[in-house]
């Protein structure tokens, strides 16, 4: 009986600083697998569906006639094909940019009204976030296939790629400062090298995502916004060309990966 009591004590005594950090990593990975198992994301998809069908705005119409690239109202597989060029706007658009376009052109909202609350909180997601969850969920299982043949799509990719490696801001950061070298992490958060396909693929397959630690649902526009905040830049304009270009760069780098549906993250 005394031997059984000895062994755990010896195990603790042997733990050193390096092993403790590794154990912490393993526990975090275990936690991440647990939280991915059950997610309130499906509730957000239901709310998004209701908003998609709701008559809103000065024109009092729903978003059901919105063309996300596969035809008016066609949602199945649409998210996986974004970003892409839209002739009616003569622009490459990501999901949120396209939704904003439909909210203004179809529903008659001003851009100011439609962007009044684009990022929500734990108590209430924004309409954009609910809609993003719903629409992204309709692409579950489909390979990520953003547009890459139109010259503007290619230009968006190139602009995103150049920006990714461009150093600026108060702290001289580029995206590559954190996401450009293997084996790095900030505190305990691993940093994927995002310009490499094998690293971009699991990332593009799991955004937008629910963040368990603060119970908030976040989109790519938010993710980029928050990156630039932490990089000590000024703020990017919502749904601007540069944000679409960066999303195009990441998505095209992760092209082919089956979309897993809105993700659940730390």
């Amino acid at each position: 009986m005394s031997l059984a009591r000895w062994i755990p004590a010896a195990a603790f005594a042997c733990a050193c600083a390096g092993a403790a950090a590794q154990d912490a990593k393993k526990e975090i990975e275990k936690y991440q697998r647990m939280i991915a198992d059950s997610s309130p994301v499906e509730l957000f998809e239901l709310e998004g569906e209701a908003l998609w069908k709701k008559k809103q705005g000065p024109k009092h119409v729903s978003l059901e006639a919105c063309d996300l690239g596969l035809g008016a109202g066609v949602l199945k597989g649409a998210y996986a094909r974004l970003p892409r060029y839209f002739a009616d706007a003569d622009r490459v658009m990501d999901l949120e940019t396209r939704l904003l376009h439909c909210m203004t052109t179809l529903q008659g909202h001003s851009r100011e009204d439609a962007t009044k609350r684009v990022f929500g909180n734990e108590d209430r997601l924004s309409e954009m976030e609910y809609l993003s969850a719903y629409i992204a969920g309709q692409s579950r299982g489909m390979p990520m296939a953003p547009g890459t043949s139109h010259p503007k799509e290619q230009a968006a990719f190139e602009l995103g790629r150049k920006t990714f490696f461009y150093r600026a801001g108060a702290w001289d950061f580029s995206c590559a400062s954190c996401h450009g070298e293997e084996g790095k992490r900030i505190r305990m958060q691993d940093l994927p090298v995002l310009y490499k396909p094998e690293n971009a693929r699991p990332v593009v397959a799991t955004w937008p995502a629910y963040r368990v630690s603060n119970s908030q649902f976040k989109t790519m526009q938010w993710r980029l916004n928050n990156c630039f905040q932490q990089m000590r830049y000024p703020e990017p304009n919502y749904a601007s060309d540069i944000t679409v270009a960066l999303t195009m760069f990441l998505t095209a780098t992760g092209e082919g990966e089956p979309y897993r549906g809105p993700g659940t993250k730390r």
Binding site: S39, E42, L43
Partner: protein, 103 residues
Amino acid sequence: MADPMKIRAGLKGDIADVRVLMNHPMETGQRKDGSGNLIPLHFIQEIAVKLNGKTVIDAQISQAVSRNPVFSFRVKGAKAGDKLEISWLDNRGERNSTETSLA
């Protein structure tokens, strides 16, 4: 008026594997808002699961459970067509329920 719940139920033999997603802030009463005021206690206290009208699970949970709880459980003796109802009651007397037919 509570947000909808979502049930996912799979039937394997006579065992129903059920997962319910519930929308609820589950406030512990210890958090503070932006102005430094305590956000009042607000949490689901009771969850009941009924199979064809008969109570099979009667649970009491506390504010220790985090926001948007997910409740996973298995019910034995279920068959296709059975009605599964899940309902909750919170500390403010608010209720919500949802039901599904097993397939």
